[in-house]
Amino acid sequence: MEGLSTDKAPSLSVVLPHFVFAGIAFMVLSVMVVLSSGLFSNHFYQPKLLAITHVFVLGWASMIIIGSLYQLIPVVFETALFSERLAKFNFWFFAFGVIYFTYSFWMGNLVNGVPWASIFTFTSFILFGINVIMSTKKAEKKTFSSKFVIASIWWLMATAIQGIVLAFNYKYQYLNDSDFKFLRIHAHFGFVGWFLLLIMGVASVLVPMFLVSHQLDENKLKRAYYSVNMGLLLLSLNWYFFSNAFATLAAWVIIMLGIVFYLSFIYDSYKKKLRKLDVGMKHSLTAFAIIVLPVVLALLASLQHDFSIIIIKNVALLYGFSIFFGFMTTLILGQTYKTLPFIIWLDRYTQYIGKRKVPMPREIYNETIADTQLYVYLIFVILFFIGIILSNTLVLKVGSLFLLLTAILYNINVFKIVFHKVKPEKSE
């Protein structure tokens, strides 16, 4: 069987700890939201909200995305992961950094905790970056999907460097940052550069694969890639050096165009699909529909901030919420059901295939729980959205309980999958 290139999937011990850590982080995150839901009716710049933000972006989103990327490198780049040992070492390093970071913010230890935690996290991102970039060097085929992933790694480095500059500012106070411009740049390197580009790259392979739809227009991906990168570059350079209101608006329009090209690619994939939607893809396509929301809010925020046209209160918080929870979490919740059961199934059942009856990957979790989780989660998103607009603490409190319920349902399924045991074969 010469030419067989299918032994490239990484070991279970590389990928699985990321999913388990992320599941627990999601639980911790939802408890933190319940405890501090009242804060969502105020300004976003408070240590407890920064703690929630960092447990979200690092412990939940980045952790699960990094773990999934290790699994998906063979699919996206058609090559094996460069070093499993480096990936395992990096997991512990990153996990420590995340806990240190979150604890420091939550306890308000901004001067002596946050700066050192940022160094830890940055180092772990460098190790992760080396592992991915070295993997891509071995890849024979360079597609637009892989370009998205490589660009996202560079933006991740930019996010972390800007983060270190901000973290050490707590200690040495060298920035004159009255309008939070460095914080905005840090956040957007992270949102648009790291998360959005990475998700776009990986999903451009996975969505057509899961929906069984091909012959899509790659030019749309190409346009999306250049628009989002150029828009973000313009946005950050403008914020660093000029703070020109029209340039900010122009940058958002360019980013928005990129997202429109991308959504059009996803829509084509949906239209040409041969396969019906399962619970994982229902979550994922909902997430792509929701992404329109933060883009519109970003335009509104730039009008409010730069042109003083106030349309809604708390637009910055609403914008952050719609990215974190509206788009990213919906997508992650869904993609967990597309990747984790498959990874465990592969580990537990490969040896039995062809020799005895084996269950399908979707049979190793509870589909009713997964379906319920989607609806409970959407109730949380809607309630929180209304709560932030109205600055209503009661609506936010009730909404946060739906997030907690989502986290419980999600973790029941995650742990059911992780601890799945092969049942002995029934004798005929």
Partner: protein
């Protein structure tokens, strides 16, 4: 029955056996998915199967190929089975059979 007919009959039986192998992601058998390009039977005990995967980096490629060999050898004891994995042409959704499309939808 002529040799030609016997060979054709056996190839049909082999294809029917391969229909029991299900792709765990899309939950459709590999024949209707269009992954089997050719089944060659020499009229005696030798079977050559040309097949593909939906992507060269398919994480369960090895598993599917082993499954093809084990399943055919299990159904036809004493047969020698060779699987030739090819990506020429690359698999496309257009290769899914009408039956496969119904199973997917």
């Amino acid at each position: 029955m002529s040799d030609y007919k016997k060979i054709a009959e056996k190839r049909k039986e082999i294809a029917a056996t391969l229909r029991t192998i299900i792709d765990p992601e899309v939950e459709v058998n590999i024949v209707d998915l269009g992954l089997i390009y050719n089944i060659d039977y020499d009229g005696d005990k030798r079977v050559n199967i040309d097949m593909t995967l939906s992507t060269p980096a398919c994480p369960i490629g090895d598993t599917i190929i082993m499954n093809v060999m084990e399943t055919v050898m299990g159904a036809f004891p004493g047969f020698e089975v060779d699987v030739n994995l090819t990506f020429e042409p690359r698999w496309k959704p257009e290769m899914v059979s009408e039956e496969g499309k119904k199973l997917l939808a």
